[in-house]
């Protein structure tokens, strides 16, 4: 189906079903119960799951396939957000032009940065992209954002926001009741939501989430196609042995540059979507710790696999939002079945790792994954499956004497 083989089609369908039913799946606990803190089915968080999923899918096209570790992808995310907000300000509140514009701008930026950075590889490439991203951050934060100058692109520290005086030439300048209009997709407002009450459970369906989810499914489909294409094979060739590619007479640079631009565009798309959900853009989205976050997501999920980055993004965003909400009261509720002394002990023991300390959990988890599970959660899952399947014949591993098979690019 759609040019995919059976396995990939199954994967795509599973992902599609999971995303469409996410409001149910992520709300397994009834409202008001002790475990309701663990519910993640509210629109704000679900939107972040899919948007950061897009970001990580894009990053994985670069890092997972070519092995180039970029530490500056947040720059594209931030630029995408700024571009989308500018479209809202100038054209109108329709999300399609905004998203397209943010993709275009970040693609151009990625072309420039990639053209320069890809002259070097390995650690130099990481540091070059880091330097570029940090430069973009400083540009957005202070240089291009001076509110007093006539050339104020980013509005500095405050961040770029919509105002009532924006032209919005193709849309309405203000709503009938005098407010700032909300981003919409042909009339479906991103903030629209509908609560479904089933017994004790409350499920929320939001327009913004389904829009972002649809975009993510398209992005995921394109990523599968890239992974399975001859172009994707070439990128894997870059990762496994670039010198060998050069010896066969292939210039790898255009391929890596294309991968860089594609992944930058994905990041811009994610940034644009973030701005659609909440139309403001700030420079902190471009800080290098944000670039580090997408690296964490991809590695944690499993670099180079299709589903890994999405898992990683969901995992990290879930922990960021849910773990940070767990405070001592919630812990006491959980451990209430233990005797008093033991309960207090458990709470003290767990306390540093939740609430404000969730970053600590994340850091430790990340280190453990890098040390013991270089393939991320996906590899972990495969190993667990492997334990059950051990009786059967082991799957044929990669052939050590394997040589890259000629691809249509070089066959003739």
């Amino acid at each position: 189906m759609l040019g995919l083989n059976r396995q990939d089609t199954a994967l795509l369908i599973i992902v599609a079903v999971l995303t469409l039913l996410a409001p149910f799946i992520l709300n397994p606990f009834p409202e008001g119960s002790g475990l309701a803190t663990l519910n993640a089915g509210y629109p704000d968080l679900m939107q972040r799951f899919v948007i950061y999923g897009i970001f990580a899918i894009g990053f994985n096209i670069l890092f997972g396939l070519t092995g180039y570790l970029s530490f500056g992808h947040a720059a594209f995310l931030g630029v995408g957000s700024y571009a989308a907000v500018w479209m809202f300000k100038l054209i109108g509140m329709q999300v399609i032009p905004a998203v397209l514009f943010s993709m275009a701008i970040s693609a151009i930026l990625a072309l420039g940065i990639g053209y320069v950075s890809l002259r070097r590889s390995g650690i130099y490439f990481s540091i070059l992209t880091l330097a570029f991203a940090q430069m973009c951050y400083n540009l957005a934060y202070s240089v291009l954002g001076n509110p007093n100058s006539r050339f104020n692109l980013t509005n500095g520290e405050t961040g770029l926001q919509l105002t009532l005086d924006d032209p919005r030439i193709l849309g309405v300048q203000r709503t009938p009741d005098g407010g700032i209009p909300v981003p919409n997709f042909f009339g479906i407002e991103m903030r629209d939501s509908y609560d479904l009450h089933l017994g004790d459970w409350v499920f929320t369906f939001s327009g913004g989430y389904y829009f972002a989810a649809a975009v993510m499914l398209i992005a995921f489909y394109i990523a599968i196609r890239i992974f399975r294409s001859p172009f994707g094979l070439m990128l894997r060739g870059v990762k496994s042995n670039q010198t060998r590619l050069y010896y066969t007479g292939i210039n790898a640079r255009p391929y890596t540059l294309a991968a860089f631009v594609i992944s930058g565009t994905y990041a811009g798309l994610a940034g644009g979507l973030l701005a659609c959900m909440d139309p403001l853009a700030g420079a902190e989205r471009m800080q290098w710790t944000a670039s580090g976050e997408v690296v964490l997501m991809t590695i944690l999920g499993g670099a180079g696999t299709l589903i890994g980055p999405v898992l990683g993004a969901g995992f990290i965003k879930y922990f960021e939002n849910i773990f940070s909400k767990i405070n001592d009261n919630v812990l006491h509720g959980w451990f209430a079945f233990l005797p008093d002394g033991l309960e207090d002990f458990m709470v003290t023991l767990v306390h540093p790792f939740v609430g404000k300390g969730w970053h600590l959990t994340l850091g430790i988890l990340f280190m453990l994954v890098v040390i013991f599970l270089p393939g991320g959660l996906v590899e972990g899952g495969q190993r667990i499956l492997g334990l059950f399947r051990r009786r059967k014949a082991p799957p044929p591993g990669p052939d050590p004497e394997h040589h890259p098979k000629p691809t249509p690019h070089v066959a003739e």
Partner: protein, 343 residues
């Protein structure tokens, strides 16, 4: 003119911090071939060693002074730091005032042991893994170290004063023939530059004039041959890792009065230090030091008013622009050696 001298001094003290961190990074990279993203965290830990030392010295016991009463009429409780109890009021107070320089006594053993533990416990297993893995695991370690510090010390910066004798400003202009009070510069920052110079000289002297340093240099040049000669080079490289950690820790501890320690100060310095290392040339110690001072001074000059009028806010991005230009024109950096980290 006075503005230029003032900015030169500014650049020197910022540059000395860059140079010290970059020196440590380069030592680790040149010996072990590992890119240490946790080096900024080591800098931060050094600064917190100064904080801890200050708190240790201020530990007090409480006595009740029957001759004085508080406003409720109860006998007044007097807190006396143990140090004052042991050394008498004057010497004790002096020790507390000088806690930041004295924290070196704490920094060297703590950071040395921590460095050894890091190398033996973690980094050792990453020699044969790709650079990306090394970056990632040290990045994770940096997050963990940061969060541990945040857990114990909170997220706010902790002011750590310089000794009162060095807290004021020095009239540098007088020495150079300027009128009085034309160029006044904080004494502690001048001292920081001096201190950095001493540390750098000590590291270079150690590498240049001791047998241990000679073996290490030989190992950096050709690791396999040194191993063939029956020398356990890994053990010596581990010691170099500890030394690099100590250098970062000293840089951080002494920086505490300039910039009150907070848990993310290391990350802020780390990015710039990487740029410094790359500009100086990966694996070149003199290059790292030179590039550190160079970029520090360049950044300071870019914030001169005259420059800012032509190119507004250039000081924010100058370092990155310079780094990009240098990497593209001289891919090995200013003093990079051939064959180091070239893929």
């Amino acid at each position: 003119m006075d503005a230029i001298i003032l900015q030169t001094l500014n650049g020197l003290d910022k540059g000395s911090a860059y140079a010290l961190i970059a020196l440590g990074l380069t030592i680790i990279f040149g010996t072990l071939g590992v890119v240490n993203f946790a080096h900024g965290a080591l800098f931060m830990l050094g600064a917190f060693c100064a904080v801890v030392f200050n708190r240790l010295l201020s530990l007090s016991y409480i006595t009740i002074d029957p001759t004085q009463t508080d406003f409720l009429g109860n006998p007044l409780k007097v807190e006396t730091p143990y140090v004052i109890g042991w050394f008498g009021p004057e010497a004790g107070q002096a020790i507390i005032d000088w806690s930041v320089p004295l924290s070196i006594l704490l920094v060297i053993p703590v950071m040395g042991l921590l460095g050894l533990a890091m190398e033996r416990g973690l980094i050792r297993y990453f020699y044969r893994r790709p650079h990306a893995d090394q970056i990632l695991v040290t990045f994770g370690l940096a997050i963990v170290l940061q969060e541990i510090v945040k857990y114990f010390f909170g997220a706010n910066p902790i002011p750590t004063p310089a000794p009162p004798a060095m807290a004021g400003g020095a009239d540098v202009g007088m020495l150079l023939g300027f009128p009085e009070n034309a160029i006044v510069y904080p004494v502690w920052r001048l001292f920081y530059t001096f201190f950095a110079a001493v540390v750098i000289a000590a590291v270079f002297g150690f590498l240049q004039f001791t047998t241990f340093g000679m073996v290490v240099r030989a190992g950096m040049a050709d690791r396999e041959t040194v191993q063939l000669l029956g020398i356990d080079i890994n053990r010596r490289f581990a010691v170099m890792f500890a030394i690099a950690a100590i250098v970062a820790g000293l840089a951080g501890a002494m920086y505490a009065p300039i910039n009150s320690p907070n848990y993310h100060m290391g990350m802020d310095f780390l990015v710039l230090s990487f740029v410094v290392v790359v500009v100086g040339g990966m694996g070149s110690l003199p290059g790292a030091v030179a590039a550190g001072f160079l970029l520090g001074i360049l950044e300071a000059y870019a914030s001169l008013d005259a420059v800012k009028q032509i190119l507004p806010s250039i000081d924010q991005i100058i370092i990155y622009i310079v780094a990009i230009v240098i990497l593209l024109t001289r891919p090995r950096g200013l003093m990079g050696r051939k064959g180091v980290m070239e893929e």
